[in-house]
Symmetry: C2
Subunit: 341 residues, 2 copies
């Protein structure tokens, strides 16, 4: 029965191919490797398996698999303050030589003198002036250049890493896992759309048309046969709180079946997602890891998580305990051992 020719038989080649592809199959069967086997990982996988199972009553067609993610504090860190705000403050300093009047004008004087108290005293009005001065008055292409240049050069004050490396490895894996199951992954964030587009495709694999954020009114300009789009200081849409479901409806026109945030600014997006028909997934990243990242929630000025945490607990939404559920925070971290509580 044993014939050496068997080893040249096409069947052998098939077996060999199968054996060689086994490690890949194993990897495909084990998504979210940076998540400990805690409740959140289980809930994510159960949800995805259910809505992609054609035999489930909760099956969702691929085109309706819309997943929305906040950015600051959900896909990357946001301490000691929003990274885009750090960009704005540094842009004020970089461009100050062209604005000698800033030396004696608030809020710019406070920025130039690193006077955090005076800066805080200028409040939201001051902040809008800083964003106006650094985010507008230029073409969309020029702004993209400024943002990309800063992101390539700037380093985080605590980790010394580029900001685009302070992204959450577990969330990258979740984005990949969802896309592998035909979900369309969107960012819906209070950050400026143009600022996020400067890195979202490269860093998260989210293309520009799936980045939704705060926008300024733009103005199409056509001079000497050259077309450009100018960013003006007038706010068009504040993509925070209720602004999130509003922009989701305006831009996507479908209700998401999965939403992930980390702060009260994400509450309305989660409510909008939760109130659709069929099975839904609502998740919150809870920053509980003072050692590897930061620990903050109800009292934080940045990324306050208070009302949304109450509602999540009340309604049984997924709350990710970063300290116990994430084996690794950043891609550059070594993975910790399993430590499910």
């Amino acid at each position: 029965m044993t014939n050496p020719m068997t080893f040249r038989h096409p069947g052998f080649k098939f077996l060999l191919t199968l054996a060689l592809s086994l490690p890949l199959l194993v990897q495909a069967a084990e998504p979210l490797p940076s998540w400990n086997d805690g409740p959140s990982k289980k809930q994510i996988i159960e949800f995805v398996q259910t809505v992609t199972d054609q035999n489930s009553k909760d099956f969702v067609k691929p085109e309706d698999r819309i997943a929305v993610f906040d950015n600051d504090g959900t896909l990357w860190s946001e301490q000691p303050m929003y990274f885009e705000l750090l960009f704005a403050l540094e842009e004020v300093k970089r461009t100050a030589p062209q604005h000698p009047e800033w030396k004696t004008t608030q809020p710019f004087q406070a920025v130039l003198e690193n006077d955090h108290k005076a800066l805080a005293a200028t409040g939201m009005e001051g902040l809008l002036k800083i964003f106006g001065a650094t985010h507008t008055g230029m073409t969309t292409e020029a702004f993209d250049d400024y943002a990309k240049t800063w992101l390539s050069q700037a380093r985080h004050p605590k980790t010394g890493k580029p900001y685009t490396e302070m992204i959450f490895q577990p969330m990258l894996e979740m984005l990949d896992y969802l896309r592998g199951k035909d979900f369309k992954t969107y960012i819906v964030s209070g950050g400026d759309t143009g600022f996020m587009r400067a890195f979202a495709e490269k860093v998260y694999g989210v293309p520009p048309e799936q980045v939704i954020g705060t926008t300024f009114v733009t103005s199409f300009e056509y001079k000497d046969g050259k077309a450009s789009i100018l960013r003006t200081p007038k706010l068009a849409h504040n993509d925070d709180g209720p602004g999130k479901p509003e922009s989701i409806d305006a831009v996507i026109g479908r209700r998401p079946i999965l939403a992930f945030g980390n702060s009260d600014g994400d509450l309305q997006m989660l409510q909008w997602t939760a109130d659709g028909p069929g099975k839904r997934f609502m998740g919150l990243v809870h920053h509980t890891d003072a050692k590897r990242e930061w620990a903050y929630d109800r009292q934080s000025q940045i990324g306050r998580l208070d009302k949304a945490l109450d509602e999540a607990n009340k309604r049984g939404w997924t709350v990710v305990d970063m300290a116990s559920e994430w084996r690794r925070i950043y891609p550059f971290d070594a993975a910790t051992s399993e430590q499910v509580q």
Copy 2:
């Protein structure tokens, strides 16, 4: 040599399969069947072949193959007036019993009395009141229902056909052809985004997230655990003229490589597309067929084509002569014989 067994040989089966699939192959090799072999068809195919040819210096990666199409007059007809305006006028009549004051208030009185002269006299202000009364003050889901109900019942005054059948067969074929070549096809139109989304996916194969239009400010509402999004009468974005490249940049964040319109309201979208690097395609539908559709351009109140026609001629953009280049206008039409001029 001739062995009757040959006909049972697997090779024969292969030849048979090949023979049976030949008509399909011919069809695949012959895109745009409702276009005569005129200059426009040639320019479209040459453009698509060039930008999808990996050996061409003008090769464009699939993710950058963004194509934008105006809707009214480009993908469907727009005479005797924009179909959405006909919807608005009929909605005024339908809902009039709930608004007894309209009997004596302009512009509503003019609509109810079919007094076109008095209606025209109320101008843009009147028009905005009509759109406010029929397009806002309801949730986005309720508006979607109204639009779908109207579209399923209303008939065009001249053809007696549903409006959603008065779509241009040659343009449907072009959308399909582009998508088959990994283009992402968007609608960018002065029409209300919600109104177009009510039929764009079913009729054009364009999903809601690829429909960009005029928008009203919306308001997220959360009452008794129910989330909804209310359309308010405040205009958020007028997606006409310069508003088109502005919304393309805001929503898509990439510059299209192909743009198609039919009126001066599309000029800035065409300019924005034209001024990008590499090979570009700019097209205009020229309504020259008074017999099968309508003939109008420089003098028309609806869909005026004047400045854009001059610029197209000057810069060598594609101008489709509907009468001579389209073998068939609507899907329900019989195809005419070849009649290239």
